[in-house]
Amino acid sequence: MLVLVLGDLHIPHRCNSLPQKFKKLLVPGKIQHILCTGNLCTKESFDYLKTLASDVHVVRGDFDENLNYPEQKVVTVGQFRIGLCHGHQVVPWGDTDSLAMIQRQLDVDILISGHTHKFEAFEHESKFYINPGSATGAYSALDSGVTPSFCLLDIQQSTVVAYVYQLIGEEVKVERIEYKKN
């Protein structure tokens, strides 16, 4: 099962669109679920995501126009409970221990968060933490070197393989990180 994880597009406030090279990779019909960390910021981007897959989940980012997106969401895919939260509400931003507090509260195997515009994928106390970064490489006051990135999760039984796609210069580089549920 393929799950697309992305967010912090910041269209149109900070960016005009996804990088062309990413758009070419994101083909409708191949992805079963989309988990979006938020800060789309408008309906146009949401509609675009709906063309890629019918099951789209979005949580509220601090600049999202739609105030009705939930603050947090838990989605079950296969054997995995996946938590989704934008992360601007987590103080301090990007702090692993603060994120762990959310993981315990939502009781999830995988916690996906965004806001920092910095890709992360690591294991902490046997749980998996993913930050897909900003799919458009949007401006962040706290990071001068934002690289456009997104993640694709391949969920098979009790294993998740996370593929992170990063646009470095003109090239798309892919890395692979594996997580096993115990």
Binding site: P12, H13, Q89, V90, M101, Q103, R104, Y139, A141
Partner: protein, 299 residues
């Protein structure tokens, strides 16, 4: 709309601003925010060019004035949420760039965000979101001297304690505890302030507020959240946070949980508590290298 040369870019932004400014309230909602972000980006660019342009600091100052005025136009068009966020972003940017007079600019931008919060945000859900964002943003800023940091910290704590609903107050005040721990001032020179005592005051107050909640289910939920805040501070090395304090709250939760009605909500609170205890057990059995020992913890 992007120029190669920074000065040209500024002229473009200015021209665009004049043009868009005439678009009427409906249009400026969409056209002005991207201009503000383009301006923030440009300010960072001037910082990069500091070796080549000795006027870079004055130019940054001008850019922030441009942003202040542009955000003002949005406020005149009766917007509040987006301007608040734009001011917070501006404060962050000014603090990071560090041009001459940046501290005053950052303070002004944060004060403006606060004014909008106090005067224009009336929905209680929106208030909690906004104050949490203000606290989170401020926590990241290290450009303020103690003289400016102190009133802002106090403002945050005060605003959190005045939220209408008790659970919101409880959570808001607990979040403020981070300002006293990982907050940074100019004087601390990049080091965390780590005022253990003020952190405890925040968290104890948060617990007092939780005790005032009438819904027993919400109360226990808040206790578990506060316990997690306690653990966070304990593990970060706050020596005012003792095993005794942890034990007391754990005991209280164990006492109250069984009295809750059996339903899905209670199940979630239970899971949250179990996960928390499990985390403590793990840490007790194999403590981190530079972490606390958890000796005396009763699980």
């Amino acid at each position: 709309m992007q120029a190669e040369d920074a000065d040209q870019q500024y002229l473009i932004l200015n021209a665009a601003r004049k043009h868009f400014g005439n678009g009427g309230n409906m249009r400026i909602k969409y056209t002005l925010p991207p201009l503000v972000f383009a301006a923030y980006k440009l300010a960072f660019k001037y910082k990069e060019l500091e070796e080549e342009d000795d006027k870079w600091e004055k130019k940054c100052q001008k850019i922030f004035q441009f942003c202040h005025q542009t955000i003002g136009a949005l406020i005149k068009a009766e917007m509040a949420e987006v301007p608040l966020r734009l001011f917070l972003q501006g404060g962050l940017a000014a603090g990071e760039i560090g041009f001459e007079n940046h501290e005053s600019v950052a303070y002004e931008f944060l004060s403006q965000a606060f004014s909008l919060y106090e005067d224009e945000i009336s929905d209680s859900k929106a208030q909690l979101s906004a104050i949490t964002l203000i606290i989170a943003t401020f926590e990241k800023m290290k450009c303020f001297g103690e003289e400016n940091h102190e009133p802002l910290r106090t403002q945050c704590a005060l605003a959190a304690s005045k939220l209408l609903k008790k659970p919101d107050q409880c959570r808001g005040v607990a979040t403020c505890s981070h300002l006293f721990w990982s907050g940074k001032t100019r004087e601390s020179e990049g080091e965390e302030v780590q005022d253990g005592k003020r952190v405890m005051e925040c968290l104890k107050k948060s617990l007092r507020i939780a005790n005032q909640c009438m819904d027993s289910s919400v109360q226990v939920q808040l206790f578990v959240e506060i316990l997690n805040h306690y653990i966070y501070m304990y593990e970060k090395g706050n020596d005012q946070m003792t095993v005794q304090v942890l034990n007391q709250l754990i005991g209280k939760i164990r006492e109250d949980l069984p009295n809750l009605e059996s339903n899905e909500e209670t199940e979630q609170i239970n899971k949250h508590f179990q996960n928390t205890i499990e985390h403590l057990r793990l840490r007790q059995e194999s403590p981190e290298n530079d972490g606390p020992t958890y000796e005396g913890l009763i699980l």
